[in-house]
């Protein structure tokens, strides 16, 4: 522990004479009640159609935005999306109750697997914990319901987002996580995803599909 006390001791020493009790109080207060900035104008004005902003921003991020009325419509929508992009008719998802309850036989020929991604998987399907309208960003919480690898190993990532889970800002999304897991708690991995994987490392030109998915689709579920 000498490294730790050396580093912290050096910081404390270079602070000189300070009111330690006041510093401790300031830190505790900020951690207990984080000060929040007003939402940016793009999503902050009263009456903003958050879904419309989300769709526009996600499209800017090069995600495909689709919509279905009910969970029953998900299998045919996915089958048609995969067909359109010449992808094999198969996908893997986690134990999310929304996905587990779906009757996949409504899309004949679509092969369904469950669990963490395998390198051979061609498409992954997840359910988002929230969608952030501000930048068209999906928020995914890792776990058995939605294994993190589904969003990175397969060439196609499809994410179901309930319309009611679209929020204005990142801060609003964190509130949903806090409400679900408790204050200051996080899942092992919280992914903010804004479109398919990309790189501009070669000559500054953007290439889609660097290491993660080459394409990503958001399926907004009305109910």
């Amino acid at each position: 522990m000498t490294n730790r006390s050396d580093i912290l001791g050096k910081i404390k020493a270079s602070r000189g004479q300070t009111d330690e009790a006041a510093r401790v109080r300031a830190v505790a207060a900020r951690l207990a009640l984080p000060p929040r900035q007003p939402a940016v104008a793009r999503v902050g004005a009263a009456g903003t159609n958050l879904r419309a902003v989300f769709e526009a921003e996600a499209t800017r991020n090069l995600a495909t935005v689709m919509a279905t009325a009910t969970a029953d419509d998900i299998p045919p929508a996915i089958a048609s999306y995969l067909r359109q992009h010449n992808q094999p008719p198969g996908l893997r998802h986690g134990a999310d109750p929304l996905l587990s309850a779906i009757d996949w036989t409504s899309a004949p020929g679509l092969a369904i697997a469950q669990g963490a991604a395998d390198p051979a998987d061609t498409a992954g399907l997840s359910v988002a914990a929230a969608g952030v309208a501000e930048t068209g960003t999906l928020v995914l919480a890792s776990g058995a319901d939605n294994p993190v690898t589904l969003g990175f190993l397969p060439e196609t990532h499809i994410v179901v987002l309930r319309a009611a889970d679209i929020v204005a800002t990142y801060e609003d999304a964190y509130d949903r996580i806090r409400a679900r897991l408790g204050p200051a708690q996080m899942p092992r991995t919280l992914n903010l995803i804004s479109g398919p994987s990309r790189t501009a490392d070669i000559g500054g030109r953007i290439v889609i599909g660097a290491h993660g998915p080459r394409r990503m689709a958001v399926l907004i579920l009305d109910s």
Binding site: K10, R30, A117, V148, T149, L190, T199, D201, A210, G212
Partner: protein, 475 residues
Amino acid sequence: MHATSHAFKANAREALADTQLQRALSGLPGGLVAQRTAARARLPEFEDLRDVGADIRNHTLDHLDLYLEAYEKAATAAGARVHWARTGDEANGIILDICRAAGARLVTKGKSMVSEEIGLNGALIAGGLEVVETDLGEYILQIRDEAPSHIVAPVIHLTQEQVEADFRRTHTHLPHGRRLDAPVELVDEARGILRQKFVSADVGITGANFLVAETGSSIIVTNEGNGDLTQSLAKTHIVITSIDKVVPTLEDVSVLLRLLARSATGQDITTYTTFSTGPRRQGDPDGPAAYHVVLVDNGRTDLYASNMREVLRCIRCAACMNHCPVYNAVGGHAYGWVYPGPIGAVLTPGLIGVKAAASLPNASTFCGKCEAVCPMKIPLPKLMRQWREAEFEAGQPPLLTRAALAAWGALARRPNLYHMVMRASAPLLKAWSRGSGSIASLPLAAGWTRHRDLPAPQGQTFQQLWRATRNSAAK
């Protein structure tokens, strides 16, 4: 990393004569500047958020010890092992020990500037491990055995043709006549090769853009997704980062994230922003079984204790170098160490010593663009000036420079003498230019006139013109 910062002048001369480098730099980083401008136009709050962001960083630095303790407590509660390293060698030793205890052979690695700073790859390879960089740019650097020349776009100094040549030279198992003349073909080839590494790695190492004290999370910000594959497929995830990365809360991080990508690449947000908190949980079907965080000091507490503390507000967006006329002319390698551009000119003397990096804070015209675009409003020119003062006090500059500066100081402190000398020299310089308005060569100023003309005074000093104007206005 071996530093050549002391040789900045020679490095810069070489860079200016390097046609390949000049071609690579010609479109970039200008493109990044334009993209930032466009992103800023889409967010009217941008300038206000810079103030909020700087306040967040100042508040954090004022309470740095307490936030580090809070971060450690929250991270440990989530199952993380937090390690502290005073120096790069200590950090390398800790990481090598973790790898050995995990029985590791193959290590994949996401992009980390701190790891460049401490020479982590070399230490792991010397320890018998195979280390593979997985960020495309860093991978290219690894096969070229080169250092990054930019903190966000590490291979900004290379042309597409150079990358093609490197791939043909290195990937000899692939068909000789394959097509590789489009960026997408190069990206696909690297993707295929690195896939194999991701799935067989024993340890995945990433950096961290931020640490969150509230939740004990580490955050990485990427576009490729390599960091996520690195950290979720290996059994052990090690985060190597420095003590200045801590931020109080998720709300505070949100403000900084709104500024970071816009300042760096002009994106509203990067494709992936990933929060990692502890190892995989009970029932998780994937994710690392062990999660370590190595907090490195390596000179930060010295900067903290000095009059350079403001530099620790930096969030590593690279806007300062993208906008810097010096960086744009010579590229990143001329700076001779890990951090180039204005931020490098301030950080490097602090981290490797002012003696080894004395040229860097002098390689600036003080045009002020870096400070004007810095999302954390770091007064980079002021800090460079402080390094120049420190260098002068340490007796670094050559005798001739010191004598010239002393003479100038004596002149500038005596207004009457100053005006007399100026009144005498303005017409002399005008005469020297032979009416052409510019001076092609001048004794004692060859360093300037070798590359460009010196504009000649028009025969009168500003004071003389001012007085004449006032007199004529009074009439």
